[in-house]
């Protein structure tokens, strides 16, 4: 069956989206904003660290290269200290060996302080260097006074090793080179220097292969001079300080001072070449006191940083969309069966109990709800059919009860005054039945012209059985009370009959009086019934004391007693059942004999109908809707 469209004012899916999706969206927006501002910084920090490490790495690689060269020179100086008097050939071959071992070295020299190699030879400086084919050698002393050269003089003056400023070796190798000089000592005395040259052409080639992002790299010496720079004319001509001066950038001069001081750092500046804001990352090459630097345009860094941030944000946004879709999906998943249930419930409410919800899978609460719904429908259907049957049964029983009551009521005399022509007496009775069929009854009938039998009884129990017992008793009493039969005899006869086959053990209290309407005399017998009240015209009263024999239907062997009483003119005999005095107020208060007598006394002067009206009115007012038992009152008045 197709689900009917259910209109919901605030759909669950929207609520879920509103209560989960919206806070999530807000959190996400905050996180994204935070990411944009914080993560940007973070990415920049990461980028700085990356550049820092990369630059350090390249600087270290270069340092290693320089250390190999300086190490060779130190090796020569140490060897000279070991030799006692090396021959010229020994010196040349020593250097040639070192040169062949180390391809980074262009040339090597041993330059002696005047007269320190030989006291007859002022200057002597063997020099070996690479040519296109092999390794050549010369004595530098034959070319110039090397003692005035920086590579000789400076380490001599300093007493320590020295990486000289690069120079163009014109006429020699025709290459840009730098020389490392190591002072040599013999017995603690300075005797000259051992040098190793490095070709900067090789370095240039190596540097040109280093790529750091979209930037460029350069190397400056300890004086700030560029010895490698992608702008060729800077090399050996410009220093970082000359650029600072030319470009009017004092900050660049400060950066340069830090660089030549061997510091490591990262900073922004305006690139002289491009005029753009750029990043400068520098790291020292300790062996030669040079500095390696990378210059990266700020826009390149920001591009990378932004793309990192954008990537992060994109991932987050996709994540958010997925979460929202999942919520929507979950909401639909939850609300779809609920909507079906709703439609189902609506149809049930219209009385269609034959439906069963199918097709909802899973083992979740919804499924349990569906199961419960199906069970409920099933139970409801059965309950309704049961209820229908029960109602039908009840209705039939009730109608039977009604009939029983009608029969019962019809058994009681209904016409009052029953003897309108009788002047000697007056008689009125009233039965107020309880809801159920009860067993109270009264009866009176003329035995002859003078005597009238008056009966009031109260059958034990309630219901049909009590009603039937009452009917039987009444009929029986009519049978046994005949002319000239004393009441006790009639009572005993009735008792015997009632005791027979009384499997239900029912019994009845019964008061029987045979009253002479001319004399006012009466004979009575009492089978356990409440004793009658004799009410005088003036309101005084007396209780008719009786023997109070056992109720009828209990013991067939029991004998009953008979008594006589005289009713004076104007006196009223009041017969009643215990329904009167045992009437109970909603407050559980008993009506009681005293209250009954009091109201009787108060209204003694009134007619019997008036007395009955007052009493029943009073009783109804007392017990309200609380009547549990039949109430029966019979009044017999001697008129003359």
């Amino acid at each position: 069956m197709k689900d009917e469209k259910v209109k919901v004012k605030h759909p669950l899916a929207r609520k879920l989206l509103l209560w989960i999706g919206l806070p999530l969206l807000l959190v996400y927006i905050i996180v994204i904003l935070f990411t944009y501002f914080w993560s940007g910084d973070n990415a920049l920090k990461q980028m700085k660290e990356y550049l820092f490490e990369l630059t350090s790495h390249h600087a270290s690689m270069l340092d290693g290269k320089f250390m190999k060269v300086s190490g060779a020179s130190i090796g020569i100086a140490d060897a000279i200290d070991e030799f006692s008097t090396p021959t010229k050939n020994e010196l040349y071959s020593l250097m040639k060996k070192k040169l062949s071992e180390n391809s980074d070295i262009y040339g090597m020299a041993i330059a002696f302080d005047p007269f320190d190699y030989n006291n007859k030879l002022k200057l002597f400086s063997p020099y070996v260097y690479r040519t296109d084919k092999d390794i050549a050698d010369i004595d530098l002393a034959k070319s110039y006074d090397y003692t005035l050269q920086d590579w000789f003089m400076i380490p001599k003056l300093l007493g320590t090793s020295y990486w000289g400023e690069p120079y163009f070796d014109e006429g020699g190798g025709n290459i840009l080179m730098a020389t490392y000089s190591q002072p040599m000592h013999k017995n603690g005395k300075f005797i000259g220097v051992s040098t190793a040259d490095i070709s900067l052409d090789d370095l240039e080639l190596e540097m040109s292969n280093i790529r750091i992002m979209a930037g460029y790299t350069y190397i400056i010496t300890r004086t700030g001079t560029f010895i490698y720079h992608p702008t060729k004319e800077y090399m050996m001509n410009e220093s970082i300080f000359s650029l600072a001066e030319e470009d009017g950038q004092p900050e660049l001069r400060e950066i340069g001072k830090k660089m030549i001081a061997g510091e490591q750092g990262i900073t922004t500046f305006r690139d002289v070449n491009t005029g753009e804001k750029s990043w400068l990352v520098y790291s020292p090459i300790p062996d030669c006191h040079w500095s390696f630097a990378a210059v990266i345009p700020d826009k390149e860094i920001m591009k990378t940083v932004n793309s990192m941030v954008i990537r992060q944000i994109t991932i987050m946004v996709i994540g958010l969309l997925i979460i929202l879709l999942v919520i929507l999906w979950a909401a639909i998943g939850i609300t779809k069966p609920i909507k079906r249930l709703l439609g189902f419930a609506n149809r049930i409410s219209k009385g269609n109990l034959d439906e069963k919800i199918t097709g909802i899978r899973g083992h979740d609460e919804i499924h349990e709800l569906v199961k419960a719904f199906n069970k409920m429908t099933y139970d409801l259907k059965h309950y309704i059919s049961d209820l229908t049957a029960a109602t039908k049964a009840k209705e039939s029983v009730e109608s039977e009860f009604r009939i029983a009551r009608q029969i019962q009521e019809s058994l009681l005399p209904r016409i009052f005054p029953p003897f309108p022509d009788a002047e000697e007496f007056d008689l009125y009775a009233r039965n107020i039945p309880a809801k159920e069929v009860a067993g109270d009854f009264f009866d009176f009938f003329m035995l002859d012209n003078e005597n009238i039998a008056v009966i009031i009884a109260d059958v034990s129990g309630k219901g049909i059985s009590a009603g039937l017992f009452m009917a039987v008793t009444r009929t029986l009493m009519k049978t046994v009370c005949v002319k000239d039969v004393p009441p006790v005899e009639a009572m005993e006869k009735a008792n015997i009959v009632l005791c027979q086959d009384n499997d239900a053990c029912m019994f009845t209290t019964l008061f029987l009086a045979i009253y002479n309407i001319r004399t006012g005399k009466m004979k009575w017998t009492n089978a356990g019934h409440d004793e009658p009240i004799i009410l005088s015209k003036d309101g005084s009263h007396r209780i008719l004391k009786t023997f109070k024999d056992i109720a009828l239907g209990i013991d067939e062997t029991r004998e009953y007693h008979e008594g006589e009483a005289q009713l004076e003119v104007g006196e009223v005999m009041v017969l009643y059942t215990d329904g009167v005095i045992e009437a109970t107020s909603p407050e559980k208060e008993l009506y009681g004999e005293e209250r009954f007598i009091k109201i009787l006394s108060k209204n003694a002067g009134k007619t019997l109908v008036e007395i009955l009206d007052v009493v029943t009115e009073n009783l109804e007012g007392f017990q309200k809707d609380n009547q549990f038992d039949d109430i029966t009152i019979l009044l017999l008045k001697r008129e003359k």
């Binding site: 005035l148 050269q149 920086d150 003089m153 400076i154 003056l157 300093l158 020295y162 000289g164 400023e165 163009f168 014109e170 300890r222 004086t223 700030g224 001079t225 004319e233 050996m236 001509n237 410009e238 220093s239 970082i240 300080f241 000359s242 650029l243 001066e245 030319e246 001069r253 340069g256 001072k257 030549i260």
Partner: protein, 328 residues
């Protein structure tokens, strides 16, 4: 139409070689300056490149000394007509009866100085004695020696190369420097002026005017007009260089690159400024007043040379200096 062709050809020749056709033949001369191309010689370069020499009827060739050849000797040997050089050396040559003449004293103020780093603990010249002091030789050593004498100190002086590396790395405590050159190179190596202690010789009554223009007596006697025109054009060149510094620097840098000089434009700019200061010192910026060798300056130098026994007698000022510009 055919008759017109020779006329057109003639017209083209006039345009291309006006002197040839007009019979105004230019005098070829050569000038040698003391060092490689740099702003110290901007005036000559500008005069040459801007055609001032040509306008003066001179076909000048500028030669740059590499330090191994002596411009004075080249002049005396009659291989070239003019050279630039320091007054001190010229006086020494004159005292040796060499026929050298000063025809224009351009630089009025000495740029030679001594520099020390404050961190070396030097405050006054008295602190030099236990320090490493380096000096260039020759002309460059005269003022320092005189200075040490005046200060009554006798520091150990070691020879100085043309590089300042020894000073920069701290191997040398006190170094000689030209204010227009090495001093600025020190600054361009990352040392600030306030980190330095300077001793300008001019501040110690040792103002030795430096670059002047020299020729042999014979050259002036034979071609006084050419000498005058040459000096005029040179001064015009200098004036133009000072008035149009960036243009002058373009030309200087062009020469520097041709000669593979390891230099940069900002250094040359500094040098040009410093040379202007030295040229206008006490004479002002009126080009008509430039080029005079003041008698007192001459005697300051000569007397110190005598003092240091570098000369035996002081040559006559009048014989030594011929004011070819202002005599006119």
């Amino acid at each position: 139409m055919k008759r017109k062709i020779p006329v057109i050809l003639l017209f083209c020749l006039v345009l291309l070689f006006p002197n040839f056709l007009l019979g105004e033949e230019r005098q070829e001369i050569s000038l040698m300056v003391q060092w490689f191309p740099q702003a110290q010689f901007a005036g000559y370069i500008v005069a040459h490149e801007k055609g001032f020499y040509n306008e003066a009827g001179i076909d000048a060739t500028i030669l740059f000394s590499d330090g191994t050849d002596s411009p004075f000797q080249e002049v005396l040997d009659n291989r070239i007509e003019f050279c630039t050089g320091w007054l001190s050396q010229a006086i020494m040559l004159r005292s040796e009866n060499e026929p050298i003449l000063n025809i224009c004293q351009l630089l009025q103020k000495s740029s030679l100085m001594l520099v020390a780093k404050k961190e070396s603990g030097i405050e006054t010249a008295q602190d030099f004695e236990d320090k490493v002091v380096s000096n260039w030789g020759g002309d460059f050593s005269i003022q320092p020696i005189a200075f040490f004498q005046k200060q009554n100190i006798q520091p150990d002086v070691i020879p100085q190369s043309f590089r300042i590396d020894g000073f920069l790395v701290g191997a040398i405590d006190v170094t000689s420097a030209m204010y227009y050159n090495e001093y600025h190179k020190i600054l361009q190596a990352g040392i600030d002026e306030d980190e330095l202690v300077t001793f300008f010789f001019t501040d110690y009554d040792l103002n030795f005017p430096e670059d002047g223009i020299y020729c042999r007596e014979e050259t002036l006697q034979r071609d006084p007009e050419i000498c005058r025109n040459f000096i005029d054009a040179t001064i015009k060149g200098w004036n133009y260089a000072f008035q149009n510094k960036e243009e002058a620097l373009d030309l200087v840098m062009k020469y520097c690159r041709e000669y593979h000089m390891q230099t940069n434009r900002s250094h040359q700019r500094w040098m040009l400024g410093a040379i202007e200061t030295a040229m206008t010192y006490q004479v002002g910026d009126d080009p008509n007043k430039w080029g005079t060798l003041k008698k007192e300056d001459y005697y300051t130098v000569a007397e110190e040379l005598l003092n240091q026994k570098l000369i035996i007698t002081i040559p006559s000022y009048k014989d030594f200096y011929k004011d070819v510009v202002h005599e006119r």
